[in-house]
Amino acid sequence: VRTYMTVRLASTIPVLFLITLIVFAITYLIPGDPATVMLGPDASPDQIAAVREEMGLNSPLTVRYARWVSRVAQGDLGTSYFSQTPVSVLVRRAMPASVQLMLFGTLIALAISIPAALISATRKNSAFDMLATVGAFAGISTPSFWLGIVLVWLFAVRWRMLPASGYVPPSEDLVRNLRGMILPSITLGLIMAAELMRYLRAGLLKTLADDYILTARMKGVREWLILLRHAFKNALIPFVTVLGLALAQLLGGTIVIEEVFAIPGMGRLGLNAILNRDYMVVQAVVLVMAAAFLLVNLVVDILYSVLDPRIRLGSRGGVK
């Protein structure tokens, strides 16, 4: 497993390098100019030119890329054009809220999708199964911002149970932090749960129809043991794949949720940076998100090898 992890980790380095290139190129393709944004539409061309020079935007793209990559390699993400704050400080400040949101959202999604899929698969075509299926389709087709607004209206405005927006760091007040995270996490989790539930249910149904399950039943193994030890474990492999992809979607989903609930996370930081053409921040946010996606994929790959020992790099005759 160690060799497998080392090889997988090493393979992320060229991918990350490629990402830096793409991120840099895409950032500079966005129409608009940070100097114009900073000075406003009434600025004269002279003023814009002066500020562009001060920001170092007049150097050739290749020079700017080389400068940026060498700094990133040394752990320096640059300085925000607008606030003059080191980007690493901005990222460090925004990261906890996003990580917490994604973690809670994922936990909620798993807490809903796994039991719902287990019940649905064991009670195919029952009222619960129908209800869960309808619920899952509704979840998949519901825009997260709309769901967020509805939840806020019900739980914050109408019933005054939870705050409508904002973020309090856990170190400041844990209870207020958790209260504030309930609605955004549920919004994020519900959407994700719908997709996960559908995949896990389908995987379980397929596995439950396999011969070895029939054999286990004939041998008198208890039904819950068959379900959890045999069927569920095997259905987990495609589920983990989908979970990895869903987590990637979650990275994008947080942007919307952070906007609706006014959470100062990575998504909001990135969005504001795009609107301001704060290239350094945009590049850093995309890079960190891409790195997070690679990390999630790495964890998924490692989980594969744990779930199915045949899936290991270099194992003889194993599935790779």
Binding site: I30, A43, I48, L90, R93, A164, V175
Partner: protein
């Protein structure tokens, strides 16, 4: 089958546990409790303790008072920093503030006397040297103030004493008075990097913490020079979505909403949790730039036809809750320079528009294709653009409506001039036309303009503007700017659509908000909980 039941039971138990945890969390907090009542029921007062929270639509990009003119920063800045003069909310005139008095010694020399007892938040005394430094910082192009043109005629500044200074101008410029309300004072020799990161003003509030993208916290300046420190601290919460801001106010998470969308006003008027306050329509204005760089729009008959083709009264009634006021003047209706005689001009009249187009060589709109651009995030501009588009279609004109992301819109409108018609909201924070027509004003003649104000096309207008700026006699200036307005409408230099009031909402139990028509000058020092 039993096993299935047990799976279901486990899941059920988990669900009950999760719900119980959520209920416990929803009921406990170190913070204050809010009663569990619906919005239709009488609301309890806002939280009694803690700072007054104000929802802010966006963050600032700097703490340098002259570094940006973002409205969101201007609102915070106005509590922390101070200028020499302050705009009166009723008349929009500039009144003494840090400057006790000012006097024109001759048409190009303005002498100013400042208050002797003003101190910065760090305890240092404000002197005339600080004022000089602040003006020079404001006009420095690298500072980045888009309003720096308001003080462009300042050639030299002489410090006479600790409390007196003289501004020497390159030419007579009455607009400098408006500019003095825009120069926010900072301590002499403060490095630019420090100005960007640390706010050391003289205002009634001190900035204690700025967490980018999240909040800005202010506390009362207990040694404020006029002896009346604000009652409570302020926290600006950054919430970019209007719906989030409204929900948060209704849920009791924020106390004050600023610049509420006018179409949301009827909805909020029905909510007992908040009170609505409306300013008079004054400084804010919807305008449309008619790009006379384009051959078709060089012809003033086409520009006039476009003006007749927009049903502004319906736009205001249907989409702005009837609260805005159609205007044909670039000058604020609250100020002395407004000309009532312009009212009623350019009513919605498609017949007249069609006749003008035919006269200009576009019978039945044939051959006329226009691009109408507006920045995204402004539904009011989108609605207006689409209304205009459909009216133009009736005239046979093909108008393409483009919603551009703000930076791309800025680029297209101010840099590339790649548009025919562009919607904008003018928020200059100035009532003096000399400021509006200064080099960085909304209606600046010159290379950055987006309308038909080219010196060679309309020399008569250029002469009038020069006269208005260079005359110090108030009555003469009023008469001159009335002529400017007359000329402006006669040749449809630029289309002014409607003046917009500013809507504010405060939670019940919070008082002291004076609804300023220019949100840049909003004073929050009297805010308190009853």
């Amino acid at each position: 089958m039993l096993t299935k039941v047990s799976v279901g039971r486990s899941a059920g138990r988990l669900l009950v546990l999760a719900l119980a945890a959520a209920l416990v969390l929803s009921g406990c907090s170190k913070g204050t409790q809010t009663p569990q009542t619906g919005p239709d029921q009488p609301q309890a007062a806002a939280k009694k303790e803690g700072p007054i929270t104000v929802a802010l639509a966006g963050d600032t990009t700097t703490l340098d008072p002259s570094g940006t003119e973002l409205i969101t920063w201007a609102i915070v800045r106005n509590q922390v920093f101070e200028a020499l003069l302050k705009m009166d909310p009723k008349t929009l005139e500039m009144k003494p503030h840090i400057a006790q008095s000012w006097k024109w010694e001759d048409p190009t020399t303005l002498s100013i006397t400042i208050r002797p007892n003003v101190t910065f938040h760090d305890g240092q005394k404000l002197t005339a040297e600080d004022v000089k430094f602040s003006i020079l910082h404001f006009v420095d192009p690298t500072t980045g103030s888009p309003f720096r043109g308001r003080m462009a005629s300042v050639q030299a500044i002489d410090v006479v004493s600790e409390t007196e200074l003289k501004l020497r101008l390159s030419a007579p410029d009455a607009g400098v008075i408006g500019g003095l309300g825009q120069v926010f004072l900072v301590k002499k020799d403060t490095p630019v990097e420090t100005l960007k990161a640390k706010a050391n003003g003289t205002g009634p509030y001190k900035l204690v913490e700025w967490q980018q993208g999240n909040f800005i916290k202010l506390e009362p300046n207990t040694s404020y020079w006029n002896g009346s420190a604000p009652a409570q601290p302020l926290t600006f919460k950054i919430m970019s979505q209007m719906e989030t801001r409204i929900s948060s106010a209704l849920a009791g998470d924020v106390d004050v909403l600023l610049d509420v969308d006018l179409k949301e006003v009827p909805r909020l008027q029905k909510e007992s949790a908040v009170s609505l306050l409306l300013s008079s329509p004054g400084d804010n204005m919807w305008v449309a730039y008619l790009n006379a760089r384009r051959p078709a729009l060089k012809d003033e008959r086409v520009r006039k036809a476009l003006a007749y083709a927009l049903d502004r009264e319906t736009y205001v009634k249907a989409f702005q809750s009837g609260l805005a006021k159609v205007t044909n003047s670039p000058h604020s209706a609250l100020g002395a320079f407004y000309d009532k005689a312009t009212e009623g001009q350019y009513p919605y009249d498609l017949k007249k528009a069609a006749a003008l187009l035919a006269e200009a060589g576009y019978p039945g709109g044939k051959g006329l294709k226009l691009t109408l651009v507006f920045p995204s995030g402004y539904p009011d501009l989108k609605t207006g653009s689409e209304m205009w588009q459909s009216a133009l279609a009736e005239l046979g004109v093909q108008a393409e409506v483009k919603e551009l992301e703000l930076a791309a819109w800025s680029n297209a409108v101010a840099k590339q001039f790649d548009f025919d018609i562009a919607w904008d909201i003018k928020q200059d924070g100035a009532s003096d036309p000399a400021v509006l027509y200064s080099t960085t004003g909304s209606f600046a003649p010159g290379p950055t303009n987006r309308n038909a104000m080219f010196e060679d096309t309309y020399p008569e207008l250029t002469a009038l503007l020069k006269q208005g700026k260079g005359t110090l006699d108030p009555a003469e200036r009023v008469a001159t700017y009335h002529k400017v307005n007359e000329f402006w409408n006669e040749h449809m230099i630029q289309y002014t659509i409607a003046a917009k009031p500013v809507a504010y909402a405060v939670r019940k139990g919070v008082s002291g908000l004076d609804p300023h028509p220019s949100i840049r000058y909003l004073d929050l020092t009297k805010l308190k909980r009853q």
